[in-house]
Subunit: 309 residues, 2 copies
DNA sequence: TGGCTTCGATAACTTTCGGTTATGATCGCC
DNA sequence: GGCGATCATAACCGAAAGTTATCGAAGCCA
């Protein structure tokens, strides 16, 4: 019934004391004010201004509207400013989910980049493996997921609704064989997977275990998996103690290595692709886009860290 | 930029969880919501909803708008309600000015009527003689003036801008001669003004004094005015003490009389007209109209009071 | 897996509302 | 009494907002 424009006009009339002044201050023409007031009067069914001589004066009801105008308009301005802040990266919240081994350096580096560039954008971070993080993304519980997919399977995921998601590849993560320094094969430059059919194996996270089984099946054998743990530090410990060998992504080795463990490239080579995943809608949110950018840059900066290691 | 309708829509979407639901709850069609959201999005330059499957979910910016919506809309409702209260006589303030002798019974009775009918309408009351009250009305310092004009002069006033004002006649007030009970003429049923040329006169308010001089001039003499006071009780006291005679409006005699004073009709008869004056704009304000009505009714009820006196 | 239902997007049309220009009426002032 | 300023009114114009009709797609259910 009453709209903000009407209130703005009433306030301008109260401030300026005349229709003409109000028109000037609002950038309208004088008749616009005139009929705007008339509209308001017949909508409210009340006299809002009294025409006295060639000036006008607000009635009590008119003063009421003018008084409320400041409250309404300031609330409107506040809303506008707040979304403008989000649009202008002066505010905003990004809920990021990433799988554990990415949170070692890739994610912290990206978060630091975002914080440096847009100090008021808040990125919250939760660890989650790709299946859960993508489910959370779908459920609207996060805005961004850092996920990985092993070569062969699709980048975003191997699942059906890949077109719902938008993925940006961050980096390729080579899978290497980890074995004890004391192992007979430890001094080789590389090794064929098929030569490891009789080893005891240590498996990582469920997806990694699946990938291990898949690769071995391709080579014609079923690995003897003696241990399973999601903690790659534990995997390295187990390997170091000579309890078995493991396939470990290179990304993990950059931050956690063990002086009793040697890693070798394998044949056929295998890698996983690490990507950041979001939705088409969310990607258009500035803070989300900024976080994606930061992640991409953090990923590009990675190899140097690797080389120095 | 952002309008209340947009906020209302955002809130409805937040509440209903879908465009269709919002459309239903607001009485719009579904496409209306759809393009309303799109408009808002391109105005704010931000993504406000994410389309997930066949439902929608608000983004952070969208939630911000929905959250502010309640503040803005409630402020708007408050404004609307307040003017509706004024329009519906559940609120409102009337600033009434009346000349002193009208405040004895006429005004109190009218105020009581208003208070009984519309307990929440506040009538404030200030005493003022017609010249000042009408000036105040013109200056916007009051809404209603109870004024009087002596026969011959115009009802609203004798001045130029009578068409600015709207007047409602309340009652005619007969002017009577007040003289001491001991006066030789005190037992007459009436008296010619011309027979009083040699009396000592006591004059009331400036306008009354002017009227006295005018009447006497019409009868061919100039009254010998020994006292002037605006306080009619004082006039009666002076008359009672035999210090002179006076012309006193009947309205005053209804509330203030003196057992040593006798009043008589005079010839030529004279009366003043008591009216309530406002402006055309203010008359359309419900509370003002209600007060006018109450004054008219209070004036009609008057004669009975007089008769019983 | 294939229809059925439902939901959002889009297009095209219509109407109403809000605004401007032009003009008139009136007031206050010189 | 004329002049300048102010509000009101009329006529006109355009944009914006809402509607109907239709499409595409998603989820649901058998």
């Amino acid at each position: 019934m009453i709209d903000a424009a009407g209130l703005r006009v009433m306030k301008a009339i109260a401030d300026e004391g005349s229709f003409t002044g109000a028109a000037l201050s609002l950038g309208y023409s004088q008749p616009a004010i005139s009929q705007m007031v008339r509209r308001l009067e017949q909508r409210t069914g009340t006299v809002l201004v009294e025409r006295v001589g060639r000036n006008v004066r607000l009635t009590e009801a008119g003063q009421v509207l003018a008084r409320h105008a400041v409250a309404v308009l300031s609330a409107l301005d506040a809303a506008e400013e707040e979304v403008a802040a989000i649009a202008g990266l002066r505010a905003g919240r990004v809920r990021l989910m990433a799988f554990p081994s990415s949170s070692a350096t890739l994610v912290p580096r990206a978060l630091a980049l975002v914080k440096q560039r847009f100090p008021d954008v808040q990125v919250t971070f939760t660890e989650a493996e790709p299946p859960e993080s993508l489910a959370a993304l779908k459920a609207g519980e996060c805005d961004l997921a850092v996920a990985f997919a092993y070569e062969g399977t699709d980048v975003g995921r191997g699942e059906e609704d890949m077109d719902l998601f938008v993925t940006h590849k961050l980096l390729d993560d080579e899978v290497r064989l980890a074995l004890p320094r004391t192992h007979p094969l430890a001094d080789r430059d590389g090794i064929e997977l098929s030569a490891l059919a009789t080893e005891n194996w240590i498996a990582g996270c469920p997806r990694c275990r699946g990938h291990l089984l898949q690769m071995c099946a391709n080579e014609g054998f079923t690995p003897n998996v003696g241990f399973e743990t999601e903690d790659y530090v534990a995997v390295l410990g187990l390997v170091a103690e000579g309890l078995g060998v493991a396939l470990i992504p290179d990304l993990i080795l950059r931050t956690a290595n063990h002086h009793d463990v040697v890693t070798l490239p394998i044949t056929p080579s295998s890698r996983r692709t690490i990507s950041v995943v979001t939705t088409a809608d969310l990607q258009r949110v500035p803070a989300v886009q900024a976080t994606i950018d930061a992640l991409c840059e953090a990923a590009k900066a990675k190899p140097r860290v690797l080389a120095s290691n």
